[in-house]
């Protein structure tokens, strides 16, 4: 089928290395998200896949075909641009018709004035195709308008429609939701996943918003500094990150990172309390990561802190705690009903099953937890 694979893609602009040997395999029909902080090279990678940018080294394969040297219009991909890039002088219907005209009509049939006359039947069929897509996207009543007369969300739909009218191998989207307001963005997220389920076509989706990546994709690739740090299911990446950078980037609020020590017996000490023995780890300074939801407020907890800041999200309250004698701020999730007030002293527990240990170089140290001297 039409799986896509990128092999050792390298790209620099002048002296700046933007992509540094990126490998990525995208199975047919998957919704894959490229996510990472601004400037990490996501758009560049997507544009290389589309063919709008040339690679310095590496190959792009679609299906079984090496398309590295193929021009974009022959790769049969569809792209939704962040700016939507609708043709402002054409109506919505004409915008959506354009890809069909360009591909299905001959040169003479596309000529102005006489073109429409000699290809009337064909054009009628193509217009019907546009109407069908407009119906699925619920933009039928917008077909006669110009892009300048549409709202952001409507333009987004039209851009999507223009991509959908033909059957591309894959949809490439570069932050298509970033121009929308928060409510519409959340709504469009679910519409896009719904659309993907229906079309069963490959989606490659670029975003800097980890929440979009987590909620929408089958697979996500976390990029940083021109490299893919980790590629996998959103769940796995959230639960089991390979490096501190990935752990920090994914999840909101961010994971707690606590500087800790492992002694010569392999005992891990976090915030001054022993968390038990871990086999295979030598004496060293490490960083321990633990998600806010894995810290629980409890009157008898082993750890104590003072509430410095409360972040109320309605369904949850995140408490930022200062722990005596430690520089790291600890964020704990609490239910609003039981959330203590500002400046209150609270106690909490930490489950050692969810501890993620990272070495000084930021790489994950995978260690067996041997003695379960779990804190109460």
């Amino acid at each position: 089928m039409s799986s896509i694979s990128l092999r050792t893609i390298t790209k620099s602009f002048g002296d700046a290395m933007v992509l540094d040997g990126v490998d990525l395999d995208i199975k047919d029909g998957k919704f894959v998200t490229l996510v990472g902080p601004s400037g990490c090279g996501k758009s560049t990678l997507l544009r290389i896949l589309a063919g709008l940018e040339a690679t310095d080294a590496g190959t792009v394969t679609i299906g079984k075909r090496d398309v590295t040297q193929t021009r974009p219009s022959l790769r049969n991909l569809a792209m939704v641009f962040q700016s939507y890039a609708l043709y402002p002088h054409l109506s919505v219907a004409q915008n959506m018709l354009t890809p069909l005209l360009m591909r299905d009509l001959t040169k003479t049939q596309r000529l102005p004035v006489i073109g429409p006359l000699i290809s009337r039947a064909k054009r009628k069929a193509l217009t019907a195709q546009v109407d069908a897509v407009a119906q699925t996207l619920k933009i039928t009543e917008l077909l006669t308008r110009k892009p300048g007369q549409l709202s952001g969300g409507q333009r987004q739909r039209v851009a999507l429609g223009r991509a959908m009218v033909r059957n591309p191998v894959a949809f490439l989207m570069d932050e298509p939701l970033s121009n929308l307001d928060a409510a519409l963005r959340v709504h469009m997220r679910s519409e896009l996943t719904e659309l993907h389920r229906r079309l069963k076509t490959t989606f490659v989706y670029v975003t800097h918003d980890q929440a979009e990546a987590l909620t929408m994709s089958d697979r996500m690739a976390v990029m940083m500094g021109g490299k893919i740090l980790q590629f996998g299911r959103p769940d796995d990446i959230y639960r089991d990150p390979n490096s501190l950078a990935v752990a920090r980037f994914v999840g909101s609020p961010a994971i707690n990172t606590l500087s800790s020590e492992i002694d010569e017996q392999g005992t891990l000490t976090v915030l001054g309390e022993s968390m038990g023995r871990f086999s295979g780890l030598s004496q060293q300074s490490v960083v321990v990561g633990i998600r806010p939801e894995h810290l629980t407020l409890s009157k008898t907890g082993r750890f104590g802190g003072m509430v410095k800041h409360r972040e109320n999200l309605g369904s949850d309250v995140f408490l930022h705690l200062v722990v005596d004698g430690h520089a790291d701020v600890v964020v704990v999730r609490a239910t609003p009903a039981h959330a203590p007030a500002l400046a209150a002293q609270v106690r909490f527990t930490m489950s050692s099953d969810h501890l993620l240990i990272f070495g000084a170089d930021g790489q994950r140290l995978r260690a067996e937890h041997t003695t379960s001297k779990v804190a109460v």
Binding site: A50, G51, L52, R71, P72, S73, L74, L77, A78, M79, F81, S83, A85, L86, Y87, P88, H89, L90, T98, P99, M102, R103, K107, R110, P112, K146, G148, Q149, R162
Partner: protein
């Protein structure tokens, strides 16, 4: 109470200046065009539409319209077309674009009167570079072209003094001088086209430069083109300095280059016939007015751009 009149203080000065500088002279000229006024006379006679009647019946003025329209309808399409072509070519360059821009813009900046002297030399029948070059081609395959063969057998045209060639030669100089201006306007228009649109066109399957031009470049240059065409029309209607430089008396061989601006100058200034001069001015104003209205209409029709 006083505050309700405040707007008068804001728009008043502009209104008064506009009236004094723009409208009043037009009204005076309009009034004068119905008289036989001459500068220096204390009074003038009202002659009704006589001046206008002359403009639309006498053969001199038929020649005037002929010369003006020949000039305008050659120069406008050529300067617009060449301006667009040059802009597209320069825009596609990665290097030396600035050099070409400067070269093509030089004629626009130079004084046409000074350049007219250079062209007069170039077109000179015996010592001019143009006919000298053409003579070199004699005896080659170019003689297959009958016009060329005739030129070799006798002489090549006396470009500026032959009444069949004069207006076209003057138009050529107008084109040479004017297209750089349109090129600059088009270059500005081209930089305003979002690059994403070209990428979208590429993703949509356009493969030839022609498709890309039809789908993106030309429509996106629409507003620029309306402006460029209007400006070119008005500039061409106003052609004067070349004619004055080459033919200070009479408007060229058998008045074949007797353009409107020159006619106004000749009648009103040289011959001190203010009445008829004012009448030609009013006709000229009418043309400019029509052009401006067409431009407004086109611009308003396109308000939904972008």
């Amino acid at each position: 109470m006083g505050n309700q009149r405040a707007y008068l203080w804001c728009i008043g000065p502009a209104l008064i200046l506009m009236f004094l500088i723009l409208l009043l002279p037009i009204f005076i000229a309009a009034g004068m065009s119905f008289t036989n006024y001459s500068l220096g006379n204390t009074s003038a006679d009202f002659v009704g539409l006589e001046n206008y009647e002359q403009i639309f019946t006498r053969s001199t003025y038929a020649k005037m319209f002929g010369a003006t329209f020949r000039y305008v309808f050659l120069v406008v399409p050529m300067t617009v077309g060449l301006g667009l072509g040059a802009a597209l070519l320069i825009n596609s360059l990665t290097r030396f674009g600035e050099v070409y821009k400067t070269i093509y813009f030089l004629p626009v900046m130079s004084a046409l009167i000074a350049m007219a002297i250079v062209w007069e030399f170039a077109f000179h029948p015996t010592i001019g570079i143009i006919n000298a070059t053409l003579e070199r081609g004699c005896g080659t395959f170019l003689e297959g072209w009958t016009w060329y063969a005739k030129g070799c057998a006798r002489t090549f045209p006396l470009w500026l003094t032959d009444r069949d060639y004069a207006i076209w030669t003057v138009s050529f100089i107008g084109i040479w001088q004017g297209f750089g201006f349109n090129m600059v306007l088009y270059l500005a228009g081209l930089t305003g086209i979002p690059r994403d649109l070209y990428h979208a066109a590429e993703m949509d399957g356009t493969q030839s430069a022609w498709d890309r031009f039809c789908l993106v470049t030309w429509p996106m240059l629409g507003p620029t083109t309306v402006f460029v065409v209007t400006i070119s029309f008005i500039r061409s209607f106003q052609v004067f300095d070349t004619v004055e430089a080459f033919y200070p008396q009479g408007g060229g061989p058998s008045k074949s280059v007797y353009v409107m601006m020159f006619a106004i100058y000749e009648k009103a200034i040289q011959q001190n016939l203010m009445g008829i001069g004012a009448a030609i001015t009013m006709v000229f104003l009418g043309f400019v007015m029509i052009l401006t209205l067409i431009q407004r209409w086109l611009v308003e029709r396109r308000t939904h751009y972008a």
